[in-house]
Symmetry: C2
Subunit: 245 residues, 2 copies
C-alpha cells in the first residue's frame, strides 16, 4: 500500500488549530495542486475566496451556525461554483448564454468538490488539518453578500486549514461492501452489515463523550433525511442565476 | 513541497490502458481510501457500482458518447449519489422522508465527488491512470436501467482505472490569481491573465494535433455555456426522486 493511501485513510476533521501561520508559498502550492484536479469539459468552474479579514471571518463563523474555528484557523476559504467567468465570454463572442441548466450546476459543483479535495490532500500531506464548512449554506445569501459574489457564482462550502492542535480519532465508515456494488445496485446483505456498523458508530460516540448511549449511524442520517434541509437553497440558487431547467 | 503535492500536480486523464489487471486487494484499498474522504453530516451518500460485465461496459461506452476506454480499462465504476440507503431508515424509525430537497442533492453530489477524488489520488499514487466519464449523463436513464438504480440514487459520473499505455502532457490550468480571490469576488486583472492563458491553451492543442490553429479556453467554454447542456437532466433527476425543492 502506498504512503499516499495511508495518508488518505488517516483523514479526520480538525476543529482546533495552533497559531502557526501557513507560508504564502505553501498556501499557493496547495491551491495549484487543487487546480490540477480533473475538470468537466475543461470548464474550470471553481473560484476560491480566501478570507483573512477578522471581521468577515467572525461573521461567517456565526452565519455557519457558530463554528469558531472559521475565525481562528490559519486560513479560511470559501469554495464557489463559478459559471460567470466562462459565461463572460459568451457575450464577448456574440453567443447566447444558456449556462443555467441543471447540468451546468452539476458540472460546476463537481468541479469545485474535486478541486477542494485535492487541496485537502495536499494540505494533509504536509501536516495540516482541515475542516469542511458546509454550514455556510445555512445563510448562503449573507455569505454571498459578504464575499460580493455576482450572479453565476454560488458558495458551495468553506474550508478551514491550519496546523492541528488536537488529534481526534478517525471516524469509522460504512463497510466497503455496503458502498461498493458489483454490476448492479443490490441491497441484499446491507441491513445486517449496517446493523453491525451502527454498533461501531455508537461505540465511537460513547468513547468520545465518555459514556452515554451513543447514537447510531442510521439514527443520525434518518433524522437528516426526515427534516426540511436548508429549504432556502432552491430560491437562493435561482436568485444567483442557477435555474434548474 | 511534498511528493504528494507533486503527484497531484502531475495529473492528466488517461484514455489508453495496458491489459494489466488491478489486484482485488489494491482495488478494495482504493475504495477504502475513497471512503475516508469527508462526508457532509456523516451521510456517506455515495454508492459505487463496479462494472465488469463486458456487454454492460460496451453499452455504457456507447451511451457515454462513444468512449471505448470505458470498455477496455482494467476497471470501470459508476459513482452514484445515494439518498436511498439512509432514507430506508426513515421508514424503519417511523419518520417522514423529506430527503428530496435541493440541499440534499448538493450534499450527496459533493459527497460522491470527494470520495471519487480520493480514489483517483490513491490510484495515481500507485501508478494507475484514470479518466472521469461525465458522458454517462448523456443518457442517465439508460445507464440507471443497466445498473438497476432505484429512486433516490443517480449516476453522477463514471471512472476508468488502469495502468497507462500513454503519457500525455499535463493540461495547463488557469493562472492561480484568476481562481484564487482575496476577501471578495473581484475580476479586475482577469481579462488580461485569461488572454495570456488562451494563448497557452492554443499552443497546447497545436502541439497535440501537430499543427492547426488550436482552440483557446474562452472559445471552448463559451461554447459549452451557449448551448443547451443535457437538458434532460432535470426531468431525469425528478423521476429519480430528486425534487429540487
Amino acid at each position: 500500500m502506498s504512503s499516499v493511501i495511508e495518508l488518505l485513510k488517516s483523514h479526520r476533521s480538525i476543529r482546533k488549530f495552533t497559531d502557526q501561520a501557513i507560508s504564502p508559498e505553501l498556501f499557493e502550492d496547495l491551491i495549484v495542486a487543487g487546480q490540477a484536479a480533473a475538470t468537466s469539459s475543461f470548464l474550470q468552474g471553481s473560484t476560491i475566496i480566501r478570507v483573512t479579514n477578522p471581521t468577515t471571518r467572525e461573521k461567517i463563523a456565526e452565519l455557519a451556525g457558530g463554528q469558531p474555528y472559521v475565525a481562528s484557523a490559519a486560513e479560511f476559504m470559501v469554495f464557489c461554483a463559478d459559471l460567470k467567468r466562462a459565461g463572460n465570454y459568451c457575450e464577448q463572442y456574440g453567443k447566447p448564454f444558456e449556462g443555467d441548466y441543471t447540468e451546468h450546476f452539476i458540472i460546476a459543483t463537481v468541479d469545485v468538490a474535486l478541486m477542494a479535495q485535492n487541496v485537502v490532500t495536499a494540505a494533509e500531506s504536509v501536516g495540516l488539518g482541515i475542516c469542511y464548512i458546509g454550514g455556510i449554506r445555512n445563510n448562503p445569501g449573507s455569505v454571498s453578500e459578504l464575499l460580493e459574489l455576482p450572479k453565476g457564482v454560488f458558495p458551495v462550502f468553506g474550508l478551514c486549514l491550519g496546523y492541528p492542535d488536537q488529534d481526534p480519532e478517525v471516524k469509522p465508515r460504512l463497510p466497503v461492501q455496503v458502498i461498493l456494488k458489483q454490476e448492479v445496485y443490490n441491497e441484499s446483505g446491507d441491513k445486517q452489515s449496517i446493523a453491525a456498523y451502527d454498533e461501531q458508530v455508537r461505540e465511537y460516540y460513547r468513547l468520545r463523550t465518555g459514556g452515554g448511549h451513543g447514537i447510531s449511524w442510521t439514527e443520525q442520517v434518518s433524522t437528516l433525511l426526515s427534516e426540511k434541509c436548508r429549504p432556502h437553497m432552491k430560491e437562493f440558487l435561482e436568485g444567483q442565476g442557477f435555474k434548474f431547467r
